[in-house]
C-alpha cells in the first residue's frame, strides 16, 4: 500500500491565489522606469524581396526613440540547430503576410503605431506558394535558396517488412485524410521586456535582463546570445507567470529577440506585446497535414502493416518542423503492436506563418487518420471497435519495431474503464437516430529522450537549500505555464523530505538563480524535473538523516520523515499520546524558537539522551550543526536504453515513458444542418501516478477540450496567404456553451522510472478526441469524415454524398472579399493552390496598382 502524505492529494496550485486575485504578474504587467514601447511593422506580402527600407520619416516623429531593422541584428537563429533560417527582422526577404520587417521604439504605443505608417518599404513581389503539394513542385523563386523544391526535410522509414505485412492482411483500408491548420491561441499574447545595465567597468551597455512569456527560458538565453553576440552569462532570462503556451511559446518568437535588439539601440528598456492579430501571425501551431494512410489487418483483427505518407504544410520557416515530421512517423509505434511500418514524411515550406510545436506535437493529425481507419477496418470485419484495439496491445516491457522502449502501459485499463463508464456495450448502436458513440486511443511521450541541443548535459537540474528556519527553497529552471510545474516541484520536495507543503518555496525559471532545465515542452517537466527534484531532495534528506540518526542513537534506515517530523520507525502508527501523527501536517510544526537558533534547546535535549522523534526544524538545525551548509542538488538525463534506435531521425520519438489514453465520445448530428454536438467525453488517461489529481484531471479535460475544438470548429482559414480569421471569435475557440462535459478517469500504471511512478498527463489525451468524435459521427449517421474540422458544411457534404445528392457548394461564386456573402468559416474557403485573383477593391491590390502608376 502506497502511503503518501502529499503525493496523490488534490492540491491547490501554489500560485492559485496570485492568479485569482490578479496579484500575479505576467510579462505585460511589468514595467521598469524609463521603459519604452516597441511596435513591429509586418509584411503585407506573402513573398517579396525587400529592396529598400526608408525609416527617416518615422525617426523624425516626436516621441520616436529608435527604429530597428534587420541590419541591427543580422545573425540567423532558429529553435533547431539544423534550422537557423530566421531573422528577428527580415534582412532581404519577407516570406509570409505578417513577417517582421521593422520595429519602432517610442514613448507610447500610439506614437509607435503612427510611426509605423511613416516607414517606407520597397518590395519586389515574388510568386508565392500556399499549398504544400504545389510548393514541392517549385523550380524558381524558392522560399529559402538552400531548400530545393521548397522541401524543408523528408524522411523515409521502413521497419519490418511492410510489403509482406500487407500481403498477409485479410482486409486493407486506404484513404487520404486532411487535418487543417490550428493554432494555440493561448490567452496571454506574447510579451517581452528587455533591459540593459551599464557595465561599471567598461562604462558601456553590459548585462541584459529579459522578462518574457516563454516556455523555454534557457533556449531563449541561448538564441539571444547568438543574435546579440553576447556571452550567455551576460544574459538573464526571467519567466514571470505565463498565460498558457500549448507549444506556442516553446521556441524563440521574433519579438523576444527584437525587444532586446531594440533596447540595445534605444539605450532604454523596451517592452513589446503582440496584439491578438500578431499572435495569430506568430503562430507556430499545428500544420495542415495531408495523410495518405494504408492499414492491413487479419480477420481476427491483428494489424499486419501500416504505411503512411505524410505531407505537412510547414509555413515559411523551419521552426520545430524537422521534429514535427519525425514525430508523425515515430509515434505510429508505441501505442499498438504494429510489426511492419512504412513511413514517408515531407515537411514542406509555404508562404504562410511558420508552424511549430503544438500540444501533442506531430502525433495528433496522424492519430486522427489512424484511429479513424482502424474503426473503418473494425466495421469491415464486423468487430467491436473497442475489441480491435484490445487485440493489438503491446506486451511490455518491450521495444517496438521502430526502437521505442515501453515499460509501463496502462492502455488496456484505459480501454476497460472508458468502455465501462460510457455504457459502451449497452448503448453503442442502440442510441436514437443521429446520436452515436465512438472510441479512440492515443499516447504521448513523457519528455523527449534526446534534447534538441545534442549534448550529454542533464535535461533538468534542481538545487535545494534549507536554512536554520526549516524553510525549504527549491531552485528549478522548469517553467510553470499553468500546467502546475511549480506545484509539482513543491509536492515532490515536500513528500521526499517529509515536511509540509507550506514550508516549500519554489524559485523557478530565472537563468541567474536556477540551474538549467530545457523547458516546458514535450510533456517533460513532471518526469524529468520531478526526478531531478526527487534526487535533490533525497540528497538533502541524507544529510538530515545522518545528523538525526546520530542524535537519536539509531541508524538512518530506522528513520522516517513524515508530517514535519523525523521519527524512528517503531513510532509510525503509534503516535505519542494526544498528538496523532496526521495532525501535525496541518500546522507548520512549531515556530522557530530562539532557543533552537542558539542551540541551547538542543543542548538541553542532548542532556535528556536519545529521543524517538524530532521536529523537522530540530533535525535541520542538527544537520546544519553537523555538516555545515544544508544544500542538495539533483539532475536527470534520460537513460541510454530509452534513447531509441540508430536510423536517421531515430532521435525523435524515444521517451523514458509513454502516457496512454482511451476515450469514448457521445455526439449527435443534425442531418438537416450538418451540425455536430458533442454531449460527453469519457477520457481515461494513464499518467503513471497522479501526483496532484485535481491538476491531472484539469490537464485531461483541457486536452480533450482542445481536441474537440480542432475536431469541430477551430481552423486557420487562408486566402492568398492571408489569414481570414485572426481573432478569437473568428477562429472559433469554443465557449462554455459549446463545451461538453468531460469525465476524466485517472489510470495509474506506476512507471518504474517516473518520480513516484508519474508520467505525462497534459498532451496525450488530445489526439484521441478527434478520431473518437469522427468515429461517433460514423456511429450516429454512417458517414466517415476524412477532413477536420468536421464543420456543418463538411458533414452535410458527406451526408449528401452518401445519399447521392448533389453537393451543395455554399460559397460557389462567392467573392471572399465581399462581406455581404462572406462566410468566414466552414472550410469551403480553402481555395486550392493560389486561389482566385484578388478582388478589384481589395486594398492590397489597389496599393499595388497605385504604386505602379507612380
Amino acid at each position: 500500500m502506497d502511503n503518501f502524505s502529499i503525493i496523490g492529494k488534490p492540491t491547490a496550485m501554489v500560485d492559485a491565489a496570485e492568479k485569482t486575485t490578479g496579484a500575479g504578474k505576467y510579462t505585460d504587467d511589468l514595467s521598469v522606469p524609463g521603459m519604452l514601447v516597441g511596435k513591429i511593422l509586418h509584411s503585407p506580402y506573402p513573398h517579396a524581396r525587400i529592396k529598400r527600407i526608408d525609416t527617416r520619416r518615422a525617426e523624425q516623429l516626436e516621441g520616436v526613440v529608435a527604429v530597428v531593422t534587420g541590419k541591427d541584428a543580422p545573425n540567423p537563429y532558429g529553435i533547431l540547430p539544423v534550422g537557423h533560417d530566421e531573422h528577428a527582422l527580415a534582412l532581404d526577404k519577407v516570406r509570409y503576410v505578417g513577417d517582421n520587417v521593422a520595429c519602432v521604439v517610442a514613448v507610447s504605443e500610439a506614437i509607435a503605431e503612427k510611426a509605423l505608417e511613416l516607414i517606407n518599404v520597397d518590395y519586389e513581389v515574388l510568386p508565392a506558394y500556399f499549398d504544400p503539394e504545389e510548393s514541392m513542385k517549385a523550380q524558381t523563386d524558392l522560399i529559402h535558396d538552400n531548400k530545393p523544391g521548397n522541401l524543408e526535410k523528408d524522411y523515409h522509414h521502413v521497419f519490418g517488412d511492410p510489403e509482406k505485412g500487407f500481403a498477409e492482411a485479410d482486409q486493407v483500408a486506404e484513404a487520404r485524410f486532411i487535418a487543417n491548420e490550428v493554432t494555440h491561441a493561448a490567452m496571454e499574447p506574447h510579451s517581452t521586456l528587455a533591459s540593459f545595465e551599464l557595465d561599471p567597468h567598461t562604462g558601456n551597455l553590459g548585462r541584459l535582463t529579459v522578462w518574457s512569456s516563454t516556455q523555454v527560458p534557457y533556449y531563449l538565453q541561448h538564441k539571444l546570445s547568438l543574435v546579440l553576440e553576447m556571452p550567455m552569462a551576460q544574459i538573464r532570462v526571467i519567466k514571470p507567470l505565463v498565460g498558457g503556451g500549448f507549444g506556442g511559446k516553446s521556441e524563440v518568437i521574433p519579438l523576444e529577440i527584437t525587444a532586446a535588439v531594440a533596447a540595445r539601440k534605444a539605450k532604454a528598456p523596451v517592452k513589446i506585446t503582440y496584439t491578438r492579430e500578431e499572435v495569430f501571425w506568430a503562430h507556430r501551431g499545428r500544420p495542415r497535414t495531408i495523410i495518405d494512410l494504408k492499414t492491413g489487418v487479419t480477420n481476427d483483427g491483428r494489424i499486419t502493416a501500416v504505411s503512411a505518407r505524410v505531407v505537412q504544410d510547414g509555413g515559411a520557416y523551419c521552426s520545430y518542423g524537422v521534429v514535427t515530421i519525425l514525430y508523425s512517423g515515430a509515434l505510429l509505434g508505441a501505442l499498438y503492436d504494429i510489426p511492419n511500418i512504412q513511413y514517408d514524411g515531407y515537411r514542406v515550406l509555404t508562404n504562410k506563418p511558420a508552424c511549430g510545436a503544438m500540444r501533442g506535437h506531430g502525433t495528433v493529425n496522424v492519430r486522427f487518420a489512424f484511429e479513424s481507419q482502424l474503426d473503418e477496418l473494425a466495421a469491415k470485419l464486423g468487430m467491436d471497435p473497442a475489441e480491435i484495439r484490445r487485440r493489438n496491445l503491446l506486451q511490455p516491457p518491450c521495444i517496438t519495431v521502430n526502437g521505442l522502449r515501453v515499460q509501463s502501459y496502462g492502455l488496456p485499463e484505459c480501454i476497460e474503464k472508458t468502455v465501462e463508464r460510457s455504457g459502451w456495450k449497452a448503448r453503442r448502436g442502440k442510441l436514437p437516430k443521429g446520436r452515436g458513440l465512438g472510441i479512440a486511443c492515443s499516447h504521448y511521450v513523457s519528455g523527449a529522450a534526446n534534447s534538441i541541443i545534442r549534448s550529454d548535459m542533464p535535461h533538468s537540474t534542481v538545487n535545494i537549500k534549507i536554512d536554520r528556519d526549516g524553510g525549504v527553497v527549491v531552485y528549478t529552471g522548469a517553467s510553470e505555464i499553468g500546467q502546475g510545474s511549480d506545484t509539482m516541484t513543491a509536492q515532490v520536495a515536500a513528500e521526499t523530505l517529509g515536511c509540509s507543503l507550506s514550508r516549500v518555496r519554489v524559485i523557478a525559471a530565472d537563468t541567474d538563480l536556477t540551474p538549467i532545465d530545457i523547458g516546458s515542452y514535450s510533456s517533460r517537466v513532471t518526469f524529468m524535473a520531478g526526478n531531478a527534484t526527487l534526487r535533490a531532495a533525497g540528497e538533502v534528506k541524507k544529510l538530515i538523516a545522518a545528523a538525526a540518526a546520530k542524535k537519536m542513537g539509531c541508524t538512518v534506515e530506522d528513520l522516517i520523515f513524515r508530517n514535519d517530523e523525523v521519527l524512528k520507525k517503531v513510532h509510525v502508527g503509534t503516535a505519542a499520546p494526544g498528538r496523532p501523527a496526521e495532525q501535525s501536517s496541518a500546522s507548520v510544526s512549531g515556530r522557530v524558537e530562539g532557543q533552537i537558533l542558539r542551540g541551547s534547546l538542543q543542548q538541553k535535549r542532548k542532556e535528556e539522551g536519545p529521543k524517538d522523534r524530532m521536529t523537522f526544524e530540530e533535525a535541520v538545525v542538527a544537520a546544519i550543526d553537523f555538516h555545515g551548509a544544508l544544500t542538495g542538488t539533483g539532475s536527470y538525463a534520460p537513460p541510454q536504453e530509452a534513447r531509441g534506435g540508430k536510423h536517421k531521425g531515430a532521435g525523435v520519438g524515444p521517451s523514458p515513458a509513454y502516457s496512454y489514453s482511451a476515450q469514448v465520445a457521445e455526439v449527435s448530428v443534425d442531418e438537416e444542418t450538418g451540425e455536430v454536438t458533442v454531449h460527453k467525453v469519457w477520457a481515461a488517461h494513464d499518467c503513471g501516478r497522479a501526483l496532484n489529481p485535481v491538476a491531472v484531471e484539469g490537464q485531461i479535460i483541457g486536452s480533450v477540450w482542445m481536441g474537440m475544438g480542432q475536431a469541430l470548429s477551430e481552423e486557420m482559414v487562408w486566402k492568398d496567404g492571408m489569414l481570414m480569421n485572426p481573432g478569437l471569435l473568428e477562429y472559433r475557440s469554443p465557449s462554455a456553451v459549446e463545451s461538453p462535459a468531460v469525465e476524466p478517469i485517472i489510470v495509474e500504471s506506476v512507471d518504474p522510472e517516473g518520480p513516484f511512478g508519474a508520467k505525462e498527463c497534459s498532451e496525450g489525451s488530445l489526439a484521441a478526441t478527434i478520431p473518437a468524435i469522427a468515429n461517433a459521427i460514423y456511429d450516429a449517421v454512417g458517414v466517415r469524415l476524412h477532413e477536420s474540422p468536421f464543420t456543418p458544411e463538411r458533414v452535410l457534404a458527406a451526408l449528401r454524398a452518401k445519399k447521392n445528392a448533389k453537393a451543395l457548394n455554399l460559397t460557389e461564386g462567392v467573392d471572399p472579399t465581399s462581406p455581404a456573402r462572406f462566410r468566414e468559416h466552414g472550410g469551403s474557403l480553402w481555395f486550392k493552390g493560389k486561389g482566385p485573383e484578388r478582388h478589384a477593391l481589395d486594398p492590397s491590390r489597389r496599393e499595388v496598382a497605385a504604386r505602379g502608376a507612380d
Binding site: G8, P10, A16, T20, A23, R276, V694
Partner: protein, 170 residues
C-alpha cells in the same frame, strides 16, 4: 489629443487621472492606476479577460472609454478579496482547478461575481450562458463549474469542501 482630468472610483477609492478622451478603461486601469489584474487578451471584446464591474454590471474594459465611466463605481479583480482574505469564489477556483494559467481568471471571477449578484442560485445552463462571455484555453470550463458550485455552497453554509483524493474518485 489633449488630456482631460477625470475622476474614477475604483474599488471604493477615488482617483484623479489625466487621460486622453480616447483612452480605454483597460489602459487607464493597467497603466495609470497600476491595476494589472484585468488582462488584455484580444483588444476586441472577444475574450473577456478584461472584464470589470461598472456599477455592478460586468463590462469589458478593453472596449469602454475611461471617460465614460466617470461617476460610476468600478470594481476590478483587485477589489474582490474581502478583508485581506480570498473570497469564496477565489478560494474555490484555486481548490477545484478553475484556474490553470490564470490569465483569463480575473475576467471569469468578475463575470461570476456579477452572475451571482443577479442570481444567487443559477442553474448549470445559467452558469454556462454567463461564462460564454469569457474564453479560456486551458480548462475546458468543466472545473470552473465545480468551483462555482462550491463557492455558492460556501457562501450559503460558510464552509468549503476540498476535492476528494483520487482513489475515491476513480
Amino acid at each position: 489629443m489633449k488630456k482631460e482630468l477625470i475622476e474614477l472610483r475604483v474599488n471604493g477609492r477615488a482617483h484623479e487621472v489625466a487621460v486622453e478622451p480616447s483612452a480605454l478603461l483597460l489602459e487607464v486601469l493597467r497603466q495609470e492606476l497600476g491595476l494589472t489584474g484585468s488582462k488584455r487578451g484580444c483588444d476586441d471584446s472577444s475574450c473577456g479577460a478584461c472584464t470589470v464591474l461598472v456599477d455592478g454590471v460586468a463590462m469589458m474594459s478593453c472596449t469602454l472609454l475611461a471617460a465614460s465611466c466617470e461617476g460610476q463605481e468600478i470594481t476590478t479583480v483587485e477589489g474582490v478579496s474581502e478583508h485581506g482574505s480570498l473570497a469564496a469564489i477565489q478560494k474555490a477556483y484555486g481548490d477545484w482547478g478553475g484556474a490553470q494559467c490564470g490569465y483569463c481568471t480575473p475576467g471569469f471571477i468578475m463575470t461570476v461575481k456579477s452572475l451571482l449578484a443577479e442570481n444567487p442560485d443559477p442553474s448549470e445552463a445559467d452558469v454556462r450562458a454567463a461564462l460564454s462571455s469569457n474564453l479560456c484555453r486551458c480548462t475546458g470550463y468543466n472545473q470552473m463549474y465545480e468551483a462555482i458550485r462550491e463557492a455558492i455552497a460556501a457562501e450559503r453554509e460558510g464552509s468549503t469542501t476540498q476535492p476528494e483524493a483520487s482513489a475515491s474518485r476513480t
